[in-house]
C-alpha cells in the first residue's frame, strides 16, 4: 500500500498547474466560486482551450480522443482544476453520451458525433426523466413509432438540464409497449432543432434557469440515430449510470468549497474574534472536512479497484450519497456564516441597479446556492434510491 505520488506524478501535477495558470481565462476566474450563474459561452470558452490542448476528455480511450492518463493522473487533474476553481464542464456530452457512443455506437455514429463532442461544437442534454417517471425511470412513456427509416416521437420530458442551449439530446423512448418495462426502451440521439420540439423553462428556487420541460410532438428522428439495438436502450442507460464513477463524489470541488467557507469565516466577525474562531462553527468545519477525507479515501480505494480491472460497481452509490450530502452541508455552512446577509436577494434588484451587491461579495449567492443544492440528493438517482441499490446489490437484502 502506498499513497504517495511518484516523481512522474509530481511532474505531471506541475505541468497541469502551469497549464491552468497560463491558460485559464482571466474573465472566468472566481466566477464559479462566487456562485454566479454560468452561461453557455463560459463553459465553452474553457472547453475549447482544453480541446486544443487535447485534455478535454481524460476518461475517454485514447483512440477516441482521450488522454491516456493513469487514474492517479486523472485524480491530479480533477484536484488541480478544482483548486483553481476551473469551471466544471457539462457532463452530458463528455461523460454521458460520449462513452455510450464509443461503447455501443456504429462507426458512423462515432465518426459523426465524437469529434463534435470533443470540440464543443454540439451541446448535449439528457432526456430521461418524465413527469410521471422520475425515480421509476423504466416506467417512461414517451413513445417512438417506426415509420419507414424514421421514428416518430411523442411525449414529454422534464428536468432537462440546459436544454435551452442544446444542439442535441439523448433520449430514452418506448419502442415496444407490450414488452416488460425495461425491455421496450430505445436510446435515441435527437437533433434539438427538429420540428415538433418545444423547450420550456422551469425556474428553480434560487431563481435559476437550469432545467426545462421538453415537449415532443411528432418529432421525426432518423433510425440511424438510434444507439445500439431497438428495445435495448436500457442497457445503454444502465451503462451510463454506472459509468461515471470518478467525479460523482465531487471531492475536489468540495475541498475547494470548504476552503472557501474558511475564508468567509475568517472575514466574518463574531464579537472580538473571527467567526472561524467560534468553537461551534469551527467544529462544524472540522466535521465536514473529516467526512470529506473519509469520502476521498473511499473514492481512492474505489479508483484503485477500477485500475485493477474491477468495473464500476454499486459502491459508487456510496460516493453519490456521501458526496451530495457534503456538497449540501457546505452551502448550509456558508449561509450560516454570512448571518443576516444571506437574506438580500440579488436577482430581485431592479434593472440597471449596478451598485455593489448588498453586504459582502461572498454573501450574495449563499442562500440561492443553498436552495439550489438541495437538488444533489434528488438528481442522478435520489439518495433514497441509492440506499435501495446498496441494500440490494451490496448487502444482498
Amino acid at each position: 500500500m502506498d499513497m504517495e505520488f511518484t516523481v512522474e506524478d509530481l511532474a505531471f501535477r506541475d505541468e497541469v498547474r502551469a497549464f491552468i495558470a497560463e491558460n485559464y481565462p482571466q474573465e472566468l476566474r472566481g466566477k464559479q466560486d462566487e456562485g454566479d450563474e454560468l452561461g453557455k459561452e463560459d463553459f465553452l470558452a474553457w472547453h475549447r482551450i482544453l480541446h486544443k490542448k487535447g485534455w478535454v476528455a481524460p476518461a475517454w480511450p485514447v483512440e477516441y480522443g482521450g488522454t491516456g492518463w493513469s487514474p492517479t493522473q486523472r485524480y491530479i487533474w480533477s484536484e488541480e482544476t478544482a483548486r483553481a476553481d476551473c469551471i466544471r464542464l457539462m457532463p452530458f456530452g463528455l461523460s454521458m453520451v460520449g462513452p455510450v457512443i464509443y461503447t455501443f455506437g456504429t462507426p458512423e455514429q462515432k465518426a459523426k458525433f465524437l469529434p463534435r463532442i470533443l470540440s464543443g461544437e454540439d451541446w448535449w442534454c439528457q432526456g430521461y426523466s418524465e413527469p410521471g417517471s422520475g425515480s421509476d425511470l423504466a416506467s417512461l412513456r414517451t413513445k417512438a413509432v417506426r415509420d419507414g427509416d424514421h421514428y416518430v416521437v411523442n411525449g414529454q420530458k422534464t428536468w432537462t438540464t440546459m436544454a435551452q442551449h442544446a444542439d442535441w439530446g439523448f433520449f430514452l423512448v418506448r419502442t415496444d409497449s407490450d414488452a416488460k418495462q425495461q425491455e421496450g426502451i430505445s436510446f435515441l440521439l435527437v437533433d434539438m432543432k427538429t420540428p415538433g420540439i418545444t423547450v420550456r423553462p422551469i425556474i428553480t428556487l434560487g431563481g435559476e434557469h437550469e432545467v426545462n420541460e421538453v415537449w415532443l410532438e411528432d418529432v421525426r428522428v432518423p433510425v440511424e440515430n438510434r444507439v445500439y439495438e431497438e428495445n435495448k436502450g436500457w442497457t445503454c442507460a444502465k451503462f451510463l449510470l454506472a459509468h461515471e464513477r470518478t467525479g460523482i463524489a465531487g471531492v475536489a470541488a468540495s475541498k475547494r468549497g470548504i476552503e472557501r467557507i474558511k475564508d468567509i469565516a475568517r472575514s466574518e466577525q463574531d464579537g472580538d474574534r473571527p467567526l472561524l474562531a467560534n468553537p461551534f462553527f469551527k467544529r462544524k468545519v472540522a466535521e465536514l472536512q473529516t467526512d470529506l477525507t473519509a469520502l476521498e479515501f473511499t473514492e481512492l480505494r474505489s479508483l484503485a479497484g477500477e485500475a485493477a480491472g474491477r468495473g464500476p460497481g454499486p459502491e459508487s452509490s456510496l460516493l453519490k450519497i456521501k458526496g451530495s450530502e457534503i456538497q449540501q452541508r457546505i452551502t448550509e455552512l456558508a449561509l450560516e456564516a454570512v448571518g443576516h446577509y444571506g437574506a438580500p436577494y440579488f436577482r430581485g434588484f431592479g434593472e440597471g441597479d449596478n451598485e455593489h451587491p448588498i453586504g459582502p461579495d461572498y454573501a450574495h449567492r449563499t442562500a440561492p446556492s443553498y436552495f439550489n443544492m438541495r437538488k444533489t440528493t434528488i438528481y442522478g438517482g435520489s439518495n433514497e434510491i441509492q440506499h435501495n441499490i446498496i441494500a440490494k446489490m451490496v448487502l444482498g437484502l
Binding site: I202, Q269, H340, F349
Partner: protein
Amino acid sequence: MDFTYNETQGMIRDTLARFLADTYDFDTRQKMIATDAGRDPGIWNALANELGLLGAAFDEEHGGLGGGALENALLMEEFGKVIAIEPYLQTVVIGGGALKAVGGAQAAAHIPGIISGETIIAFAYAEPQGRYDLANIRTTAKADGSGYILNGHKGVVYCAPWATHLLVTARTGGSTRERNGVELFLIDANLPGITRRDYPTVDGNRASEVYFENVAIPGDALLAGGMDLIDRVVDEATVAVCAEATGVMAKLHEGTLDYSKQRQQFGQPIARFQVLQHRMVDMFMEVEQAKSMTTYATLHLDKPAHERMAAVSQCKAKVSRGAKFVGQNAIQTHGGIGITQELAIGHYFKRATLIEGQFGSADYHYDRFERLVIDEAA
C-alpha cells in the same frame, strides 16, 4: 394547568384564518411580491379596520382588545401558514411591544396609529459587523440640545421600505460591544439624513440597508430602558417568529404528506415507502415539539429576565433545528418538483430557512442558554 386558548383567542384566530384563506392563497401572495411595492397595503388596512386584529395584543386603554403575547403567537402562527409578508412582527410585536413596555405618553401617542393600520414600524437593529449580538452596535445617538443626532448604518432592515417609523438601536455612550449606553429610539422614517437602499429578500419580503447621516431626532424619541428593554423586546419577537415557524412547519409537513399520497412511482404512492413514512413521522414530531417549545417560551415571557431568556433560547434553538429538518425533508420528499418556484412548498422552505437565523441561530441560542444556565451552575 391549561394549554388551550380561551374563547376570544379562538375567535381571533378563526377570524384571521378565514380572512387569509380568502385573501392570501399562494398565487395571490406571489403576485403581491412581484409588484413594485412588494405588498398589497389593502390587506394591512383590512386587518386593522375590517377585522380589528391589529389591536388584539394591546390594552383596552389604548384601544386594543386586551391581549398580549398569546394573541401575538396565535396570529403569527396563522401568518406562518400562508407565509404572509405583512409587517405584523415588526409593527405590533416589536414596535408595539416596546411601546407597551415604556407605557405613558409615548405609548399613548403611537399605539392608536398601530391599531388603525396607519403606523408601520421597521426594526433597525442589526449591523454588518454585529451578527446576532444586540449590543454590538456602532450607530451613535449623540445628545444634542434636547434631542439626539443619529449616525450609522443598519443592515437588512425588514419592512423598512414600507415603514412610517423606524425603531432604532443606537449608542449614546460606551464602546462597540458594551451593553451600557445602548438605547432604543422610535423615529419618523422620513427624517432628513435617512437614506435607504431597498431590496427584496430571498423569502419574499422587502428589506433595506438604512443609513443615518446626522439625523436630528427629538428627545422624546428615546424609549427608555436600554439593553434590558431591547433584550425583552427581542425575546418577544423571537418567540413570535417561532410561532410563525410552527405555522410554516405545519404547512411543510402537511404539504409533504399530501404530495406523498398522490405521487406514484413504482406503481404505488411514494407514501408507502417506509423510509419516507418514518421521515414524515420525524417531521411530525419536530412540528409538535416546535409548538410545545413556543408555548413554553410564550408562557415564560413575563418571568424574570434570566428565566425568560433561558426559555426563549431553548425555544429558538429547538425551532431553528426543527425548521431546517422539516424544510429540507419536505423538499427531498417532493423530489425535483420541490425545488421549483412553481410549487408553494419551496417558498415555505425558503421562509423556514431564514427563520433559522432570525434573531439568532441555534448555535447562538444554545450558547446563550449555556451561559445562562449551565455555566452558572458549574
